[in-house]
């Protein structure tokens, strides 16, 4: 490609943008990408929260009284055999009592009121995949020598269900917003085509290649998409930083993603998405026209 041709493509694209792109369409593109970005940030935080909670999740297996050390080892082997297990620690009733006392601190007096140890022997199990906790717990509960099984009370399941629901909403919104953005950019391409139909007709007559005709439109679509994306990414970046500071001072015990790499990646992703949608819009809207 000659330098003159390169300059021609850009000057055409910029002239067409000045002529056919207005603040309403740019604003709509920016707002759509902003909302999509916000939903991805919510997912990011929910994942972070889930990771944080699941790393602490364990299955506590209480053993029946009178289980011998040999039965215990056999049980441990059978639990291992179920698979998906990271660690199994044995906690004897004495160890359990000691830990309980530490947890109670000053209130340990209520334990000394009892002259026997009420706690059973137990295994503390950490699993490789938090999603498998529930299934694993119910299988362990059916093993011989097991009195009862305790795990996160369905908290994990509910969190996973929430993440799933937010994903579904985000994907549905993505479909709607992406189509809207492509239609908006496609419409500016259509306006440009109408304004430039004489030039395009002559270009085809004198033998300009399809790509030569396409480039200015492609640049126009990509620039419009990119501009909308830049506005949304800048807004998202600063508003998120502000929201995180407010959130952390109000609810300091809930872990949030404070930005950094993930936020920057999301912003870059938005820019790429904006430019890609613009390119798709121009190619799709030009296709029918160029076939003639």
């Amino acid at each position: 490609m000659r330098f003159r041709t390169f300059c021609y493509f850009w000057s055409e694209a910029l002239r067409n943008i000045r002529r056919n792109v207005n603040l309403i369409s740019l604003g709509t593109i920016a707002a759509s990408l902003f909302i999509l970005g916000a939903f991805f940030l919510i997912i990011l935080n929910l994942n972070h929260l889930t990771d944080n909670l699941t790393s602490r999740i364990e299955i506590r297996v209480f053993l029946k009284d009178g289980v011998t050390a040999r039965d215990r080892e056999a049980l441990k082997t059978r639990i291992w055999a179920l698979g998906g297990i990271k660690t199994i620690d044995f906690i004897s009733k004495e160890e359990g009592l000691k830990r309980l006392k530490e947890q109670l601190g000053d209130d340990e007096g209520i334990l000394t009121a009892m002259d026997f140890n009420p706690l059973p022997d137990a295994f503390s199990i950490k699993v490789a995949k938090p999603e498998s906790v529930k299934a694993l717990a119910s299988r362990i509960a059916r093993l011989p020598g097991v009195e009862s099984v305790n795990y996160g009370h369905g908290l994990v399941e509910r969190l996973f269900a929430l993440v799933k629901a937010v994903w579904v909403i985000t994907l549905a919104l993505s479909v709607i917003f992406i189509s809207a953005i492509i239609m908006i950019i496609g419409n500016t391409i259509r306006l440009t085509l109408i304004a430039r139909r004489r030039e395009v007709e002559i270009m085809k007559l004198v033998g300009a290649t399809d790509w030569f005709i396409r480039w200015p439109f492609l640049l126009e679509g990509m620039l419009v998409g990119l501009t909308g994306a830049i506005v949304s990414a800048v807004a998202l970046y600063f508003l998120y930083g502000f929201a995180v500071r407010r959130f952390m001072s109000a609810l300091p015990f809930i872990p949030v993603v404070t930005g950094g790499v993930a936020l920057r990646q999301l912003c870059i992703g938005l820019l790429a998405a904006g430019a890609t949608m613009g390119a798709i819009a121009s190619v799709v809207f030009l296709r029918k026209y160029l076939r003639a």
Binding site: M1, R2, E199, T209, A292
Partner: protein, 228 residues
């Protein structure tokens, strides 16, 4: 040069534009296409530039079967064919020079070539001193000369002219014909669709008459129509 083998064209709405046309036009010929409106003249021209594909039959231009060209080959075919029209199709916001240069710019021609060819072709059509004017500052005949300059600036082997004198008075039309003759004299094949009886009769060139999609007459040194 240009050959049609049993070419038919039926449009999706059922209109038969051409019906089994066989035709041979040699390099350097000057051919008039005559016949009533809707007879198939424009369809014939559009087929040569592959704007329209035949429903059946073969169209050979410069030894290439136009029907079998791949979409990306079409622009290269069109670079060997110049086209002019009744309505000139000039870009109103570009000067005479830029209108002609545009045809070379959009095929990515080198700047050196553009600066050499455009003044030469403007000189040929007699508009060397009007290069910086806009189309609306020119008369109809002058505008048609600009469009001819644009059509031949890339040295095509064929020039298709669809009613090029349709909007012009006789004297101006005759000036355009003299220019076309000059271009024909340089070896360019010219195919001109027209309703202008006086011009056809005076030029004494090959005349092909099309009616209802069929060639009904093909005469060298012919006239517009049989005497009524």
């Amino acid at each position: 040069m240009i050959r049609l083998h049993n070419v038919s064209k039926v449009y999706p709405n059922g209109v038969v534009a051409l019906a089994g046309v066989d035709l041979r036009i040699e390099r350097g010929e000057f051919v008039f296409l005559v016949g009533p409106s809707g007879a198939g003249k424009t369809t014939f021209m559009n087929m040569i530039i592959r704007h329209v594909l035949p429903t059946s039959g073969q169209v050979i231009v410069n030894g290439k079967n136009v029907v079998r060209l791949k979409p990306w080959e079409v622009p290269y075919l069109r670079r060997t064919i110049g086209t002019i029209f009744q309505d000139f199709k000039l870009l109103p916001n570009k000067t005479v020079y830029d209108n002609v240069a545009f045809a070379l710019q959009v095929i990515d021609a080198p700047g050196r070539e553009i600066r050499k060819k455009v003044p030469a072709v403007l000189d040929l059509v007699g508009l060397a001193d009007r290069a910086n004017e806009l189309p609306h500052q020119l008369s109809g005949g002058e505008q048609q000369r600009v469009s001819i300059a644009r059509a031949i600036v890339n040295s095509p082997t064929v020039l298709l002219a669809d009613e090029p004198t349709g909007n012009l008075d006789f004297d101006t039309s005759w000036g355009i014909m003299e220019l076309l003759l000059k271009i024909n004299g340089r070896g360019t094949t010219i195919i001109m669709a027209t309703h202008n009886k006086m011009i056809v009769d005076r030029m004494k060139k090959r005349v092909i008459e099309i009616d209802k999609g069929k060639i009904v007459r093909d005469e060298s040194e012919g006239v517009y129509g049989r005497e009524v």
